[in-house]
């Protein structure tokens, strides 16, 4: 792999000497073993962090909704009620695991796992920082789209296997909604791929800069529209309000997970909250500059030159800045998602399909063609570059 956690750490001298020592001790080349161990450790870290973020997502959801509705929200467990999600988790695990007698047991048990697998598999290519991503695949974003579609299968099977009419309706709505909204979302992604000229996450982010005028969001008007198309489609793909028809409480009790109890229900909820994070992360990576920090602080070059720090330490500081940049932007978008949920009323099914097929898909197609024309006409320069050029040459004429 070209640039992953492993290759980042292999830059340091300590690791090289460790590998040499281990090779001598074990009698074979230990570099792949060490790489595997580093990989396993970081995969563990990411899964743990993401599960926590998913759990804290439920807390944030309740707290923000409480703020928006002038309530207090959870405030008993831990400071500010922060440990509420742990209490919920314990409750979920201890609850009786009921499988309804007419359910299709194999599918019933498989559905929440499929949802969770689909979401966790996407975490491999989410770019947390330039050194901290598990795999920089050549087809990164495409792989992410493919893996995320497993969630649709999970939702559908959950609805089918429960053998209940509410679940069935919820599952059908969920699956049709997910495959419909994949189209505008993917078309918006393709427009950005066109600007960057590559499918790997690294290529997509390296085309952008740290400051807002270097982001693809402000690259041209079409990309600007594309961001909103992507964001709306992503909301629908994750079954979040105002598109939470698969689990519309007022019509379907709880939709596709009506019959699920205990931790299986918890897995569905966890998958949803982590998927929201992943989707926000993709929006950040594609449109909002990803992990880039202004003034190129992320590479640590400036710190080495100005402060005389050791190269590796400066790089590590840069990595932390990049992590901060990525997580700040993503969590702001996460806040917006929750905010939208508690502000807007739910759409009807026909409105949902109308919005997707009659509005978002044509707009996304238009954006795609617009981006292509822009790249051809202005040689890939962003609107700000063109404006600065115009201003500079205009000033020269005075």
């Amino acid at each position: 792999m070209n640039s992953t956690v492993v290759s980042y750490f292999s830059q340091s001298n300590e690791l090289t000497s460790l590998i040499a020592g281990l090779s001598k001790l074990l009698g074979f080349d230990a570099s792949s073993l060490v790489a595997f161990i580093i990989f396993a450790i970081f995969a563990g870290i990411i899964v743990a962090v993401m599960a926590t973020i998913g759990g804290l997502g439920t807390y944030a959801e309740r707290k923000i909704s409480a703020d928006l509705q002038a309530r207090i929200g959870p405030n008993r467990v831990g400071p500010f009620g922060l440990l509420q999600f742990l209490a919920d988790g314990v409750k979920m695990i201890l609850k009786e695991d009921i499988i309804t007698s007419n359910a299709d047991k194999f599918t019933f048990n498989l559905a929440p796992v499929l949802c969770l697998v689909g979401v966790f598999a996407t975490l491999a290519v989410v770019p947390y920082s330039s050194g901290f991503m598990l795999a920089d695949l050549n087809v990164g974003i495409f792989y992410l789209v493919g893996m995320a579609s497993l969630v649709g299968v999970g939702v559908f099977l959950g609805g089918y296997a429960s053998n209940s009419k509410w679940s069935m309706l919820g599952g059908m709505r969920g699956a049709s909604q997910i495959i419909s909204y994949e189209i505008p979302a993917t078309l918006s992604i393709i427009a950005i791929v066109l600007l960057a000229g590559g499918l790997s996450m690294k290529t997509l982010i390296n085309g952008q800069g740290g400051a807002p005028q270097d982001w693809y969001l402000f690259h041209n008007p079409f990309a600007f529209m594309g961001f909103f198309v992507y964001f709306i489609s992503a909301l629908a793909e994750t079954n979040r309000a105002p598109f939470d028809l698969p689990e519309a409480e007022s019509e379907l009790v709880s939709g596709y997970h009506t019959e699920y109890t205990g931790m299986k229900f918890g897995l569905f909820a966890l998958a949803e909250y982590i998927e929201v994070f992943v989707v926000c992360g993709v929006a950040v990576a594609l449109f909002l500059g990803g992990y880039k920090v202004p003034f190129d602080l992320g590479s640590g070059q400036i710190l080495v030159e100005k402060l005389g720090l050791d190269g590796m330490i400066a790089q590590n500081i840069g990595q932390f800045l990049e992590l901060g940049s990525f997580f700040t932007k993503t969590l702001i978008l996460y806040y917006v998602v929750i905010w939208v949920r508690w502000t807007l009323p739910r759409l009807r099914v026909d409105q949902l399909m109308t919005l997707c097929w009659k509005y978002l898909t044509p707009i996304a197609l238009f954006n795609l063609i617009g981006c292509a024309v822009w790249m051809y006409a202005f040689n890939g320069k962003s609107i700000f570059t063109l404006l600065f050029h115009a201003a500079a040459s205009g000033g020269g004429h005075h």
Partner: protein, 178 residues
């Protein structure tokens, strides 16, 4: 080491999934096994360095085809009992002695042909080294837009036909009153 493990896992998934599809009595379960088998095929593509093809396999089959198949099965009634509500067996015994004999003969002939074709593949050029980071995306794109433009266009015409067909079928029919 790693690619061997990946190959073994994907091959097992592919073959195991395919066998499970055939032996499963429940259509819905068969569809899920098919999903597993298609994932295995994606893994096999990844083994030979066709990363784009692997991702396409995931997007097209996991995302689109399997969900559509599940929809179709569900709308046409994918129940697990073998006898339908009129008391007729849904899965009749297929064929008689004559068909079995013909099928066996056909299988024998096609197996021999396939072995004949595959024999040189196994005997010569065993080792092919993969360049780890070479992306196949650009090559596929270039080839599709230059050498294989005809196939590309024909497939798009096919898709357009399917789209129009779907629109015609799903459209509410106007009753002609006179």
């Amino acid at each position: 080491m790693f690619s061997n493990t990946l190959f073994l896992a994907s091959a097992l998934l592919t073959i195991g999934g395919a066998i499970a599809v055939v032996y499963s009595k429940n259509l819905m379960h068969a569809c899920i096994y098919l999903l597993a088998s298609l994932f295995g095929v994606a893994g096999l593509y990844a083994c030979i360095g066709a990363d784009f093809l692997a991702a396409t396999q995931l997007v097209v089959y996991a995302g689109g085809v399997v969900i559509l198949m599940l929809f179709a099965i569900m709308l046409t009634g994918g129940t697990s009992n073998k006898i339908n509500r009129y008391g007729l067996e849904k899965i009749p015994a297929m064929g008689n002695k004559k068909t079995f004999f013909t099928a066996g003969f056909a299988a024998l002939v096609s197996a021999m042909i396939i072995i004949k074709i595959l024999l040189p593949v196994f005997s010569v050029n065993k080792v092919t080294t993969l360049s780890a980071n070479e992306s196949s995306v650009e090559k596929i794109g270039t080839l599709l837009a230059t050498d294989h433009i005809l196939a590309f266009e024909i497939s798009s015409v096919l898709l357009l036909g399917a789209l129009i067909g779907a629109a015609v079928i799903s459209r509410p029919r106007k009753e002609i009153h006179d």
